[in-house]
């Protein structure tokens, strides 16, 4: 293990990887800082570039960009009351109130310092938990993987989503998209309509770029949002008083980091849900909940740590099982496969140095956030002034070039544009797009493991529950689905009794 770590050090600490991390750090901070451009989109646009890099710099680019973008989303939240990424939405009012009171440096300082602490905590949990879990996961056969995927899909739509029915619908759309092509156990072309281009199915990257980037471009055309330049002067003394806050709120900090990591590790839930839950939790357990929403630091500490720690958490199932924790890791898994670093328990045996290199990158990215984050806070005013009519065409251009570069195929550009339109209409009608991505990524895994299990058991369903781990996973999956259905009916019953039906389901 020590040898592998030394090898990993060599792989990470070279000028090329460090240079890539620096550049992607700046890129992630800028994208995250611009309202409407999410961390997921930053990653989707980055993937075609990683195509031309060796595996380790490619992963470094993805990890660094996502960590920076999630922190950076706090900046416009504080200065403009518009969250830069969905992960900052939970506490945008709190941070903005602090700015109104004349302490933008305090709100941003909390965002930066506690993001770093949360991020480091998530990275440490990843380093300790993933190898142990991988050892255990070596006992997982296709049956266990089948239930695990089903559990992930169930968890994503029933726990993570605010509108479970719409989420289930979108999940089915994603699973249907995954049916196209001949990447199925029988190797038979399905829904290809005789097209050679559809034989390999829809590539994930063009679909993702379409849904996350093109749809955002469309939205900015239809609803041009006049972003005012924030009227704040120079922001100084970002780090002042942070030590005091850490000493004053050790429990919220620890709670936010732990909860964030756990939520990140659950499939389908990522940084944004972690921030919402941590902010709510902070308020509930606070000694002074009445101060929340008035520019009080406590919730910011907890939720700011939470959304960044979630990032490390999302990589646990991604590395150990190849099951994404959120839409960013869904893309990252695709990149891992492209770079022949197939995620799964065996990667810890085949190429431990690569896994350790990823761990080191996590630590390094979070430390890099301190100087780079400081710099972006100093220059945020100017970044926020970049006009949309300049930015959006550039994003569209990158999206097109990127989609083409994946397979050198014009067809992928058309796919991207089509899914851009589709994603735009879905989001306009409040259908979540993340379950579609999960469906596309996990659909083939679900099918392959189901078919393999059926062949192994000679067509008998008993094979799905006659191994102990499989039986436990099966029970858990069924329990989650039942619990959600029952509680949904109960809620409906209560609302009907009160004589009104909530639109907020």
């Amino acid at each position: 293990m020590l040898d592998a770590y030394l090898l990993a050090f060599e792989m990470v600490f070279n000028p090329y990887v460090l240079g890539v991390m620096l550049l992607s750090g700046v890129y992630g901070l800028v994208i995250g800082c611009i309202p409407g451009l999410s961390a997921t989109m930053a990653i989707a646009l980055l993937v075609p570039l990683t195509f031309f890099m060796p595996p380790i710099p490619a992963i470094a680019a993805i990890v660094t960009t996502s960590a920076m973008a999630i922190f950076s989303g706090d900046i416009p939240g504080c200065l403009l009351r518009i969250p830069g990424t969905p992960a900052s939405a939970a506490y945008v009012d709190e941070a903005h109130q602090m700015n109104v009171k004349g302490h933008p440096e305090r709100a941003l300082g909390i965002g930066l310092v506690f993001s770093v602490i949360g991020g480091l905590f998530g990275a440490l949990v990843l380093m300790l938990a993933a190898p142990a879990l991988a050892d255990f996961a070596l006992h997982f056969s296709s049956v266990e993987f089948f239930w695990l995927v089903l559990l992930g899909l169930g968890g994503a739509v029933f726990i993570g989503a605010r509108r479970p029915v719409k989420a289930v619908l979108m999940l089915l759309v994603g699973l249907s998209i995954a049916l196209v092509g001949m990447q199925n156990p029988a190797g038979l072309p399905r829904f290809t309509f005789g097209s050679v281009d559809l034989l390999s199915g829809f590539s994930l990257i063009p679909v993702m770029v379409g849904m996350f980037a093109v749809s955002e471009v469309l939205r900015s055309i239809i609803r041009p949002e006049a972003v005012r330049a924030p009227n704040v002067g120079g922001i100084d003394g970002i780090f002042r008083g942070m030590w005091g806050l850490a000493k004053k709120y050790p429990w919220p900090l620890a709670r936010g980091s732990v909860l964030g990591t756990i939520i990140g590790a659950l499939p389908g839930a990522g940084a944004d849900i972690a921030a919402w839950m941590s902010y709510a939790m902070s308020k509930r357990f606070s000694k002074e909940p009445e101060k929340f929403g008035t520019g009080h630091p406590e919730g910011l500490v907890e939720a700011g740590a939470s959304n960044n720690s979630a990032l490390g958490g999302t990589w646990i199932p991604a590395l150990v099982f190849g099951i994404p924790g959120d839409s960013i890791t869904a893309i990252a898994i695709g990149v891992l496969y492209m770079k022949n670093l197939n995620p799964g328990p065996t990667i810890f045996i085949h190429a431990p140095q690569n896994v350790y290199a990823i761990f080191l990158i996590f630590l390094l990215a979070n430390l890099l956030m301190i100087p780079l984050g400081w710099a972006i806070i100093k220059t945020a005013r100017h970044v926020l002034k970049v006009p949309r009519r300049v930015l959006m065409p550039i994003i569209l251009l990158f999206a097109m070039v990127g989609a083409y570069a994946i397979n050198n195929n014009l067809f992928d550009v058309l796919i991207m544009l089509a899914f851009g339109l589709f994603g735009f209409f879905l989001e306009e009608n409040e259908f979540p797009v993340a379950p579609i991505i999960l469906g596309i990524v996990l659909g083939p895994m679900l099918e392959n493991n189901f078919v393999a299990s059926m062949i192994k058991a000679d067509g008998s369903f008993i094979g799905f529950i006659d191994r102990p781990i499989a039986a436990v996973l099966a029970a858990l999956t069924i329990a989650i689905v039942l619990w959600s259905v029952v509680s949904a009916f109960r809620r409906k019953g209560e609302e009907a009794a009160e004589g009104h039906v909530s639109e907020q389901l």
Binding site: F51, S141, S142, A186, S200, T346, N407, K456
Partner: protein
């Protein structure tokens, strides 16, 4: 100053220059070459293609761009090579699947739709079991299958993969039905190995290079390799024949080719550059490092070999009920 007229005349000059340098007049190659790989970036085939491309670049003095065209179990990329303009500027890697995919109906392409430059690799399938499995030799394993046909499941990738044909052929050569160790389709050789370790299947047919890491970790144990001789670097793994007396060898292979109709000059230069690349120390080191087997056949021998392999594979696939 750059006026519009200047710009136009500049374009005209460039256009003239490029016509003057058309392949008919200049010496081949005078511009970059595309190398199509029918498999994904980062995989074994991709890695072999990329190192060969970088070595051939030096010989030819022109850059070679590796392009991955995946899909259809290799059909898409192979089609892109065979269907390219035969000017010597689009070439590609062809793999063992070129002799199976027309049998299973993925494609109409056959090996005769290509002009091969040479074969560079040859990886025999092997018989690998869990480390704690009761059988010590492949002969004992075959006896176990004979006693209870259908009980022991096998895997190693998708249907029609090298290990599938390898194991089915082994059963047939041992006088059993080809599907005596029923095949469990998995999406890749890597997932099949996970399945083996977890106890989901009893045997995989992947090559020794592919299972090396798990073997070294003490999780799996290779019983025998489907080759005529033991492999260099895996000297303690018996061949199927010496371990069980069953005469059976089977392997996957990779080579390079272009479309039919290329100019003779291009074929000669590309073949020579490939042979030089194959014989370089760099290539030998790379292949050893990755656990890939080396095998050289020149264009003519490779073409003849593929025609023969096509017939053998067709017979096995028909036996397995996979051929259309």
């Amino acid at each position: 100053m750059l006026t519009r007229r200047n710009l136009l005349s500049a374009f005209a000059a460039v256009a003239l220059a490029s016509t003057a340098a058309s392949p008919a007049f200049a010496e081949y190659p005078d511009r970059p070459i595309q190398m199509v790989v029918p498999w994904g970036a980062g995989g074994g085939s991709d890695a072999v293609a990329r190192i060969i491309a970088s070595l051939m670049e030096k010989e030819l003095g022109q850059p070679i761009a590796v392009i991955n065209k995946t899909g259809g179990s290799g059909a898409v990329g192979h089609q892109a090579i065979a269907g390219a303009k035969p000017d010597g500027y689009t070439i590609g890697m062809i793999t063992m699947e070129v002799t199976t995919m027309h049998w299973v109906g993925f494609s109409q392409l056959k090996s005769t739709d290509f002009v091969p430059f040479g074969q560079v690799n040859f990886d025999p399938a092997a018989v690998t079991v869990r480390a704690d499995a009761p059988y010590k030799t492949v002969g004992e394993f075959i006896e176990a299958v004979k006693a209870e046909p259908g009980k022991y499941k096998s895997s190693g990738g998708g249907a029609g993969a090298v290990s599938h044909i390898g194991i089915a052929g082994l059963m047939k050569a041992a006088g059993l039905a080809p599907d005596s160790a029923p095949w469990v389709t998995m999406d890749s050789a890597a997932t099949a190995q996970q399945e083996l370790v977890a106890g989901g299947v009893e045997v995989v047919g992947s090559s020794l290079g592919e299972t090396r890491a798990l073997t070294e970790a003490g999780k799996v144990r290779p019983l025998a390799v489907m080759a005529d001789e033991r492999l260099p670097g895996f000297d303690d793994v018996q061949t199927v024949k010496e371990a069980s007396g069953v005469d059976w060898s089977y392997a996957t292979w990779r080579g390079f080719a272009g479309p039919v109709g290329m100019p003779d000059e291009a074929i000669a230069k590309l073949s020579a550059a490939l042979e030089k690349a194959y014989n370089s120390q760099e290539f030998a080191d790379f292949m050893k490092n990755r656990g890939f087997g080396m095998k050289w056949r020149n264009g003519a021998d490779f073409a003849a070999f593929m025609v023969e392999a096509d017939i053998v594979n067709g017979a096995i696939l028909k036996d397995l009920g996979l051929a259309k």
